[in-house]
């Protein structure tokens, strides 16, 4: 990391030294602005009163702060119940995905076996197939779950329960799990072999070695994978629609909000929609604010590049 910094120092010797930091500051600030601008607008709009909306002297800070919009939005989204359900589903599935993808990625990274290359290509294949392709068959699979007729009868109906999530997560076939397996494999490939060999010499089996020696070292990458899987699960509408069609989940209630609080209701609806976006993003922002230090540092230390 110091490399580029030193490279820059040399760069400075050749090009007028004072200019670059200014350009860089402007660029960084500009990009940061583009990134947070929409969220800032939404926050400011969400706090506005209808009068503020049409008052040309109000740009960012409303004259009368109000929480009416948030109340309307929370009622429209069934916020607290949806939040509870979503957190439950999301935390359980991301922990399962974290566990299974780390485990599978380790297998791909540290063992040679016949068919490994083909199998890993199949992991990548699961990433590039559009989910729409297997949508309905997968739905039917869980609607009449019977393992190719092994369970007999018409099978078990798992739609509406958390089991479809649990099964796909446990077997590394959930949302973007191919990417997680790939990341974990890259990480474990870059780890020195001595640790592992020492454990084997001490008489530990592969599974014991994995849990006692390798897993504790993988925590930085696991944090990245956890954040990704949490965020993608939280935002997912597609699988939620399919697996739990009637449950109150955040992402879906968010998408459906325009049907509950309609545009035709005028400016109040717009204000409520902006408030809803803020409410929706709040748990993610809290999570990120809580983990960001570790997250940014993990990116440095993870060695996901192998």
């Amino acid at each position: 990391m110091a490399v580029a910094a030193r490279g820059l120092r040399q760069f400075k010797r050749t090009v007028p030294a004072m200019i670059w930091p200014f350009i860089r500051a402007i660029l960084v600030a500009g990009i940061c602005f583009v990134i947070i601008y929409p969220t800032l607008t939404q926050l400011s709009t969400a706090l506005k009163d209808v009068e503020d909306l049409f008052d040309p002297s109000v740009v960012w800070v409303p004259k009368t702060f109000t929480n009416v919009n948030f109340k309307r939005a929370a009622a429209g989204m069934n916020y607290w119940i949806a939040l509870r359900n979503t957190l439950m589903v999301t935390v359980v599935t991301s922990v399962l995905q974290l566990f299974s993808c780390t485990y599978i990625g380790y297998g791909f990274a540290r063992f040679r076996f016949r068919g490994r290359g083909v199998l890993f290509a199949l992991v990548l294949l699961t990433m590039i197939v559009p989910p729409e392709l297997i949508m309905v068959p997968l739905f039917l699979n869980f609607r009449y779950f019977n393992l190719f007729g092994l369970l007999g009868g018409t099978g078990i109906n798992m739609i509406g329960s958390m089991w479809p999530y649990a099964f796909t997560s446990l077997t590394g076939t959930g949302i973007r799990n191919g990417l997680f397996i790939y990341l974990m494999r890259q990480f474990f490939r870059g780890m020195p072999g001595e640790l592992e060999e020492a454990a084997y010499v001490d008489g530990a089996g592969p599974i014991r070695t994995y849990f006692r020696v390798m897993l504790p070292n993988a925590l930085p990458v696991m944090l990245i994978v956890f954040i990704f899987s949490f965020v993608w699960m939280y935002n997912d509408v597609f699988f939620a629609q399919m697996f739990m069609p009637n449950a109150d989940l955040m992402s879906r209630n968010m998408v459906r909000l325009p049907l509950v609080i309609r545009y035709e209701q005028g400016p109040e609806a717009t204000l409520a929609h902006n408030a809803a976006i803020i409410l929706y993003l709040l748990p993610l922002i809290v999570l990120y604010a809580w983990l960001q230090r570790h997250f940014v540092e993990s990116v440095e230390r993870s060695g996901i590049v192998g």
Partner: protein
Amino acid sequence: MKLRLNTKRELNGWIFVAPFVIGFILFFLYPLYQSILFSFSELEITPGGFKLHPVGWQNYYKLLFENVKFRQVFVNTMIQTLSDLPLILIFSFFAANLLNQQFRGRFLARVIFFLPVIIGAQTVMQIQSGDFISGMMRSANLAQDAGLFSGLRLEEYLYQMKLPLKFTDYIMTAVNHLPAIINASGIQILIFLAALQSIPSSLYEAAKMEGATAWEYFWKITFPLISPMMLTNIVYTLVDSFTAHDNALVKLIRDTAWSGGGAGYGVSVAMSWFYFASIAFILIIILSVLSRSVFYRE
């Protein structure tokens, strides 16, 4: 004895990848196989479930020659994705280099640059795109703020420069697309940043001893060393935009599926397969062309 040891090692590997093998067969391969069947059939919803009537290639024929929208949306999506690709790559590589330098507030800058990964949710985009009033307000506000985002002036300027029209148009699309590009680059920045940090500093020392300039250092050391990650990012970017739920073609596929009470379903699956085959084709071409020019340290 040696054979037994090898067999044991092989078995251990299978113990670890077994969950994926099971999941792949049950929740991926089998549904995939069924979807092939669906694409060659017409689905009829009956009170007790559904029936499949085999129709041969008819669904594919329909989408290519009878469906009004498919060809147009397909071509547009392909062009859009492929023209965004270089922009996303250049931007994310540039941003990673920026974030890799030392300056005050770097930590905060990193936190914000990764923010789109966390809050750039398509769920939110969806509701935003429908929010006409706030959209209007936003553009009104912007026009007041400054000409910063209104590409209008830049466009005039570029036209006056008498550059080739195609080039000007591409630049203008890029400028108007900038927020979308920045929002789509989060993970790519992350991958590039990690790659930049994995370059050992001994290489830099050596280059300095030889009297290399920063420019040479960049092209001879940095660039080759991160080229494998360039490939990873190309594949990731393509896959990400091809499978995005807000992609126009994906929307069309979904809408077709529920049109005509099950009758559209076969056509929709056929569309998916056609689309997927095209993605796979493009990826294979890109991989086979680029993997030769990628540099591996080992």
